[in-house]
Symmetry: C2
Subunit: 709 residues, 2 copies
């Protein structure tokens, strides 16, 4: 009896102030609901967003309650059913709040009670890949996501439930799930990693909703409450001071949702923690930087492990943009993004966004040229983003000089990506993965993600002696980062320059790229200087993976027409077919590609021993997991040091509908190296018959481009 009383007291003591015990309280609050009910009839974007979840909720409540025994991987029936269920619970909860119709609450209740009934009878997931693994899904991560959504649904129907129902759900479902996340999978829970964030968000949000301060504290400070793990440590260590997330944009997108949702819950329940102000407004910066790492086609820069068709239309970014706009004063240009997302979250944040758009406050999204620092302290390299032109026709160069990015990082120091005219010009392969396609390695990363997608040759950066950077050793690669030499952005050009000293033994890699605008309202030139410095002879290969179709080569190519062979045996070379080789000879050489109705000519400095290889990805691929992509590779063999110098020029147009072609001839000519010393590179070229001299000076950290009359 005494112990029972003590237990009750202890529960009471760990609860939050009265305010916080109102439900709902996370995305929706009781106060918001009235305004929201009016808003869904007033503001088009909110109206259609509500209609869309209403449709889904109506579909959901007509389905049988199905809580199948867990089995199978991504894409399998049980997996997709449990995913569906958590989305349904969240949506039906919201619709219940807006419409007041009990049938929606009833559906959530039934699902929750069914889960409560069966959850504890399930063994560990039969398809788990590592121990302990997930319970409801093959990996613990999905169990966490399930909780993040489910607890929102529970929050919305809390008042609809009887106390015994709540008790059953909290005791027989949420408590065991929290235990599963924070104790059984304690390693993940305490990890400084996006899986850890999903886990602490799940436990922390459940803690707020269920009034369990102990769960919240664990979520904030780690399971040992020592601050070594948990949300705050993740905020400290996973982001750079600029808001860059170490794994890169694809995972920053994925991680932003639990960060934003949990932060929102903290903001609601414990405003005194000032979580939005944490680390000088880090979360707002993180949302901004994430959007700055998209191109005008909405797609995230696909470096590191990334699905290439992932856009800012994804769910996570709808939450992030809405909450950043509503809670963090992120500026009216965010409304441009929200408009293009085409929906808002049905919550007070979404209401604010939809209202502002309806009031005509939208401004074009302000894409910027910037250097984004990586590393918790901002001292582990970074990402250079160079942009020019209006949002409708923007040139964008991405320069990757960041740290490795943990297990999802690729071995691609000083890699570049080039976008123009709303498409990829020089592209990154992204990851080798067919997400949720069960027939493709269970929807997980395929073997070729390691053997191909991560290897250096799959990227637009220098490969030395046919080996990947750091010999593709994650631990070694994680120990160091490249260093910024210069970054500048002005009206005439943007420049970013960095060195990498550790990726290749004995070789110092240095790259400088310039986005140069010789004329107003005309395409920008991409000037690229890649220098390799060494005392010993090496084989240097600089690939340019391009999109489009090769339409011109200024030098003869010897083409393999009857038989193809793989380019090598390891470090990704086993996945590359060699189509052709050429010797451009002394002087300048040009390759022209036609891509999305525009020409792209790369003119490069050549010499008597330079070779060019044309290649296609897809060799060594017994399961057809690799897309067929094309590259030209500039190749120098047996040289100590070498500087690759090229200028890529977008030009002209070829319209198949009107059958009009214009400006098909490249205008860059006469590239000549003037000086190539340790701290100074100087060269000249002609463009439309005007001579320009470029000097990149690393001592003064300055680049000048002079127009010669």
């Amino acid at each position: 009896m005494k112990s029972i009383i003590l237990a009750i007291v202890s529960v009471l003591l760990t609860q939050f102030p009265a305010l916080a015990q109102e439900h709902p309280s996370i995305l929706l609050t009781r106060n918001d609901v009235k305004a929201l009910r009016a808003g869904v009839t007033q503001y088009p974007l909110l109206r259609q967003s509500y209609k869309s979840i209403l449709r889904a909720a109506d579909k959901a409540i007509q389905m049988e309650i199905a809580v199948p025994q867990p089995t199978g991987e991504g894409g399998s029936v049980a997996h997709e059913r449990h995913k569906r269920n958590y989305l349904d619970m969240q949506m039906c909860g919201i619709v219940y709040q807006i419409s007041g119709e009990k049938k929606y609450a009833e559906h959530v209740k039934k699902l929750l009670l069914k889960y409560a009934e069966v959850y504890n009878s399930w063994p560990r997931h039969p398809n788990r890949k590592i121990e302990p693994g997930g319970k409801m899904f093959w990996q613990n991560l999905n169990d966490c996501v399930w909780m993040v959504y489910t607890v929102q649904g529970y929050d919305c129907i809390y008042d609809y439930l009887t106390p015994p129902e709540r008790q059953k759900i909290e005791r027989e479902l949420f408590e065991p799930v929290v235990k599963e996340l924070s104790e059984v999978n304690t390693k993940i829970f305490n990890q400084i990693h996006n899986h850890g964030t999903w886990s602490v968000a799940a436990v922390g949000m459940a803690g707020y909703v269920c009034g369990r301060k102990d769960w919240v504290e664990k979520a904030l400070k780690g399971s040992a409450l020592d601050g070594k793990g948990g949300f705050l440590a993740q905020l400290d260590q996973l982001f750079s001071p600029d808001g860059y997330y170490a794994e890169g944009p694809y995972y920053q997108r994925y991680a932003i949702l639990p960060f934003i949702l949990f932060a929102r819950a903290i903001h609601r329940y414990q405003p005194e923690l000032n979580i939005y102000g944490y680390r000088d407004g880090l979360l707002k910066k993180a949302v901004d930087i994430l959007l700055q790492m998209t191109y005008t086609n909405k797609v995230f820069f696909p470096f590191n492990d990334a699905l290439k068709d992932k856009t800012y239309e994804s769910e996570e970014l709808v939450y992030a943009v809405n909450i950043a706009y509503s809670d963090m004063e992120a500026g009216d240009d965010l409304l441009d993004i929200a408009g293009k997302q085409g929906r808002v979250i049905v919550s007070d944040a979404g209401l604010k966004v939809a209202r502002a758009i309806a009031e005509g406050k939208t401004k074009p999204f302000r894409y910027r040229s910037l250097w984004i620092r990586d590393g918790a302290q901002g001292d582990e390299g970074g990402i250079g983003v160079l942009r020019n032109g209006p949002n409708e026709n923007q040139a964008c160069l991405v320069f990757k000089a960041a740290s490795q990015g943990m297990g999802h990082g690729h071995f691609d120091r000083l890699n570049i990506l080039f976008f123009d005219n709303n498409v990829e010009v020089f592209s990154d392969y992204g990851s080798a993965r067919f997400l949720n396609i069960e027939t493709k390695s269970g929807g997980r990363y395929t073997r070729e993600n390691d053997t191909w997608a991560k290897q250096t040759i799959a990227h637009n950066t220098l490969v030395v002696d046919g080996r990947s950077h750091f010999n593709a050793n994650l631990k070694k690669a994680s120990a160091t980062a490249p260093k910024l030499l210069q970054f500048e952005s002005n009206d005439d050009y943007q420049v970013v320059s960095a060195i990498e000293e550790y990726a290749v033994p004995d070789v110092r890699l240095e790259r400088s790229t310039i986005l140069f605008h010789p004329e107003k309202n005309a395409p920008s030139l991409l000037i690229d200087v890649f220098r390799a410095k060494s005392d010993k002879p090496h084989r240097y290969e600089l690939p340019f993976w391009y999109q489009g179709h090769l339409v011109y080569n200024s030098f003869p190519l010897s083409v393999n027409t009857n038989a193809l062979k793989a380019l090598g045996a390891d470090f990704g070379y086993q996945h590359v077919w060699l189509n052709a080789t050429g010797n451009p000879g002394n002087g300048n050489a040009t390759l022209t590609v036609l891509n999305n109705k525009r020409f792209y000519s790369t003119t490069f400095l050549s010499d008597s021993t330079m070779k060019v290889q044309l290649v296609t990805s897809g060799a060594g691929d017994p399961n057809f997991n690799i897309r067929s992509e094309k590259a030209f590779i500039l190749l120098k063999e047996n040289v100590d040091s070498y500087s690759f110098l090229s200028i890529t020029e977008p030009h002209g147009s070829a319209d198949p509908v009107t059958e009009a072609t214009a400006g098909a001839s490249p205008q860059v000519k006469g590239i000549k190296m003037l000086e190539d010393s340790d701290y100074r590179i100087s060269f000249e070229f002609r463009y439309k018959n005007v001579r320009y001299t470029v000097e990149i000076n690393h001592q003064d950290k300055k680049t000048t481009i002079t127009k010669n009359q």
Copy 2:
């Protein structure tokens, strides 16, 4: 003196009635101009169309008059300049009529006088490929196009010119050009071919505008006035009674413009000829059939020589749709197309279209399932088009059982193309050509158009013994056509079936395809039966060129991972890399492809000796003229007769943005042949656990699909 008088009398006698001597009189008429001036301010589509040509005209009048000495091929400076000039003359003429501003007329005048000054000093074109070839352009065809546009510009500024100016232009420019077209290139002029149509339209339209009845008569009846050539003979012989043009949709699109323009001129000047009523309203049918040969992504079915990105947004179709709507009562569903074209011609026809759209008369375009007869008499095979579903999500099967289609025809008897979900599923390569890309064979068809694109293996039809149909002999192929066996379209399915008896010696080819809709609002199944009948053993290969990425094979594949070889040495096989082979064994086998977020599973009847080859196009291609495309080939060796039986099933979805996958498993199972006799094919299969029996009966010309309980 006497001869001068006689000449004058003769000119007077050959002129048209007073009415016709008004200018302008073709696309614009003096009467229209007032309504049009009001219309360009009233109706959005006309307003923006006018704005767009106004912008172009304003740009044009600011340019120097440049009439360069002819040289170079498609895409070259002089070629593109002369193209620009004729477009500018037409546009400035129209803008002069609408705006009344003389600067536009002045620009046309200057260009015309400049042409008149230099035209007769030019030699034959230096880049001509055949004799006599063109004069202004490398081929005579472009000279004809030049005249068709230029004479419209002249018509618009006729009244602005002084009589001596007119005389100079007509005597020193148009007369020599007409002579060039109708006498120097008399063979083309009299040809029953789209080049001939451009030529007679040029001469005929010039005849009307210049009041030269002799030119008109030649244009209508051929240069000998015997009716063996000329416009009427072309209308008689180039179109089938259904309005199908023998070369296929790509060239029907190209040819439709001179047909429609010249017809419009005839209609204006000689209404008594009732040209719109000719051959039972042939021209209206031709426009309709042309649109029926597009898919919902706007693209023309790309069979025969065709650029794959050609859509009905092209100039020719804007003219055709506008004039068909305004002059031929073609129906309000044409406004759907006009709306999607996004512009109208600035003329009374465009005015009618823009007004009707502004008045809300648009109806969704009525895509139909139909059998389109080929051959002047309608007895040379045809094109089957099977469709199902709403315009937003339509399944469409194209069955090519037409005649050869002259020099632009491909050797692909009984070829099929399958579209679904707004994309290609089983695709046609189209032509191997980079139109107007001068670095690519001067923008002409590349060598690979003959060696690859035209060959049978490049298509989704049966190749026997590794040789193309008719051994790729155009003359032999042109002598015969396939024959229709059945065509039917009802609520549950569409079916088309045809035989080809001459393409392969000793082998009779017979194909039946069915688009079957087992459920409402669900994807259609494509059922395909390809029968080869012979008394002697043969090698049969049935390729399916697919778009998308292979994600599942139900049987093991032996993959060439280190080296690829070309599949053969001739008939297009030299252009195909062999990636993998497999032996599916007895029973059913399945290949699944993911394409535009939807799965496509082809399940086929297999046996112990069936082989499957996975291939990629692009071998034997020293100039990189071939796109990389993928196919699976069903292969039977050393059999007399064989029936390939497959069912292709669109299913499920995989959305990378929401990361939701559904319906990833194919539902077609248990395909079993029940009877395979001369006039009857009967088989069963299960779909979603329901058993269906299909009977294709050629004696009764009837197909039945029975649902078995």
